[in-house]
């Protein structure tokens, strides 16, 4: 047996915070996304609607601008209220669905096909941190598309209308923020779960829509055949819409949801069922991820 003298010295310097290591994953992901002209254009196009909203808010509070376009009565036509902001969130969230279906499938499947998971997980980096790191890419992009412009517009309206308006409509800001996060977390988990299970990116992207629209159609069939409203449990946009209504307005709802995310009046299911449906979907996605995100793929 050879006798070895230990001559090397392991690193003993300062370490970065473990939470900051999550951001190693999006570090190059954004560079990669930026290289796609289509995604860049789509991302920029997603700000058109908030820009239009900003113009509307500005014009609403600027008499001279209204006079200039000869629309003195326009103030009465468009109200800056809960419907205005919920519609904004609805539009932006639908753009977010498209964005997530473009970039989500490319998050995990390449690592799985390249056997790169063992590289991440043989570091001081857990499976949860890996998933959170991958989610960060989607969370940052979707936040920029949904609640961030929403809150900026809320701030603009508050600035022009006066801070008393902000305090009396604080629930709208909370609705934008938390409603945005409900959607982002759900979409990110779904995109990552599909990315982990479906290696062919176009198929995974198509499945994103499939989950929303096919499940909604299935729910409608159940409603039609069984003469019930419980089929809405399969309709994700319904579930999200009813949760948003509560987040924006509490128990005194005046609307029935946002564009693309409506909960038809008279067909409501209890709010806790909507929350339960969304949480259930999140848990299913988490389970799918837990099954796939492993240091090594077990081949039976």
């Amino acid at each position: 047996m050879a006798v070895y003298k230990k001559t090397y010295r392991p690193y003993t310097g300062e370490m970065t915070a473990s939470w900051s290591r999550l951001f190693v994953i999006p570090r190059y992901a954004f560079e990669d996304l930026h290289r796609s002209r289509f995604l860049t254009v789509f991302f920029l196009a997603s700000f058109i609607y908030p820009l239009v909203c900003a113009i509307i808010i500005y014009v609403q509070h600027n008499v001279s601008a209204l006079n200039l376009i000869n629309a003195q009565g326009a103030q009465r036509l468009i109200s800056i209220n809960v419907t205005f902001f919920m519609t904004l969130l609805g539009w932006q969230s639908m753009m977010g669905l498209f964005m997530a279906s473009f970039i989500g499938p490319g998050q995990i499947s390449p690592d799985l096909s390249n056997n790169a998971l063992s590289l991440y997980l043989s570091r001081p980096f857990s499976r949860l941190e890996y998933v959170l790191g991958k989610m960060t890419v989607l969370v940052i992009l979707l936040s920029l598309m949904t609640w961030v412009p929403g809150l900026l517009l809320f701030g603009l309206e508050s600035y022009l209308e006066g801070w008393s308006w902000a305090t009396s409509h604080a629930r709208i800001a909370a609705g934008l923020f938390f409603g945005g996060w409900v959607w982002i977390i759900l979409l990110s988990l779904l995109a990552l779960a599909l990315s982990a299970w479906v290696k062919w990116k176009p198929a995974a992207g198509a499945l994103m829509f499939g989950v929303f629209f096919v499940a909604a159609a299935f729910g409608a069939v159940i409603n039609g055949v069984q003469r019930t409203h419980w089929g809405h449990l399969f309709n994700i946009s319904y579930l999200v819409g009813s949760v948003w209504v509560w987040l924006f307005e509490g128990n005194n709802a005046t609307t029935n949801g946002a564009v693309f995310f409506r909960a038809p009046q008279g067909e409501e299911i209890p709010l806790w069922c909507s929350w339960g449906g969304l949480i259930g979907l999140g848990l299913i996605c988490s389970y799918m991820l837990a099954r796939k995100i492993r240091g090594m793929e077990v081949v039976r």
Binding site: Y4, K6, Y8, Y28, L119, Y120, S122, M296, V298
Partner: protein, 319 residues
């Protein structure tokens, strides 16, 4: 007397089993791996990669206990800092250059930006990859990919290197350079755990081997020691002398000599004996009595390849 090695300098497995559902990975493995180069040898499906994945903390034992330099796998944060892993498969996140590949994984270790840059450059230089550092890994040749994988495994200066088939795809020159690196790392007191199908190279580089078959450890230790334990297979010894036929005649009178063949230029005698010690005693006697001129005496089958054939043979599939 040699002091007993403490677990702080060993990789230990104590009756470790790992099952994938009903599929056996490794079963009741007990090992103590000291510093130096240790090779894992066995046919496909023998459990080499499972054993390596256990050492890297990628999987946990189903039963039994293990530790890497005293760190159990339920402290992954500490364990992962000790271990550098070079996977068997090409494992590259899409689109990264060689520099980004190493640098980003160093960041995951929690090192600062400047430290990561410095270590990345050092690792690239060590593996002669500096010139290709800014090219995408996807455009690398097989040999370059193998080297960049090795570079990422050593970049954080781990105490244990787990290298799954690290010589695959390397040309002879690169292979020689890589083996030299293994020796350097081993000589520095690191644990270098290598799995390889190239048995003659395993023979050259290993301080000890672990032979696996069907999830069980068949043998472990220095190869000569393992060979001497395989008593059911007669030892082959090659004697080069001036009168091999006379020697063969004397040897055939002994019960322990199974076979003797004169080979090559007529001066080589290859014999198979069930009792090597008795043969060496006899050879001394023959030399003294007959004045036999012996040029060399060497065991002919105490290499990994022979031991592998004796212990595992072809039943386990191809190596």
């Amino acid at each position: 007397m040699t002091p007993a090695p403490d677990t702080q300098s060993l990789i230990t497995f104590n009756s470790v089993s790992r099952f994938y559902g009903e599929v056996l990975g490794v079963n009741r493995v007990s090992l103590s791996i000291p510093p130096g180069i240790t090779s894992l040898v066995g046919p496909n499906g023998a459990g080499k990669t499972t054993l390596m994945n256990l050492m890297t903390g990628l999987i946990r034992p189903t039963q039994g206990e293990m530790s890497v330099l005293g760190v159990p796998p339920d402290h992954p944060e500490r364990l992962c800092r000790l271990v550098g892993y070079c996977a068997q498969f090409d494992a590259f996140p899409k689109g990264l250059t060689g520099f980004q590949f190493i640098y980003s994984y160093l960041l995951l270790h929690g090192l600062g930006d400047a430290e990561c840059r410095q270590r990345t450059l050092a690792a690239l230089e060590k593996l002669n990859m500096t010139e290709a550092a800014n090219r995408p890994v996807g455009a690398y040749s097989k040999g370059m990919r193998q080297r960049i994988k090795l570079a990422q495994a050593i970049a954080h200066d781990p105490q244990v290197l787990v290298l799954d088939e690290p010589l695959n795809g390397l040309d002879p020159m690169a292979r020689a350079e890589t083996i030299a690196l293994f020796r350097e790392w081993g000589a520095a007191g690191r644990h270098v755990i290598v799995s390889s199908h190239i048995l003659h190279e395993v023979d050259r580089i290993s301080d000890q081997v672990i032979l696996l078959s069907h999830g069980y450890v068949v043998a472990e230790g220095q190869i000569q020691g393992v060979r001497s334990e395989v008593k059911e297979q007669p030892m082959q010894i090659l004697v080069r002398c001036d009168k091999p036929s006379d020697l063969a005649a004397r040897l055939f009178q002994q019960n322990h000599v199974v076979e003797a063949k004169i080979q090559g230029d007529g001066r080589n005698l290859l014999l198979r004996t069930a009792d090597a010690d008795a043969f060496y005693l006899l050879l001394n006697r023959v030399i003294l009595e007959t004045g036999l001129d012996v040029e060399s005496v060497a065991p002919a089958d105490d290499d990994v390849n022979s031991v592998y054939q004796y212990l595992i043979g072809y039943e386990g599939g191809s190596v």
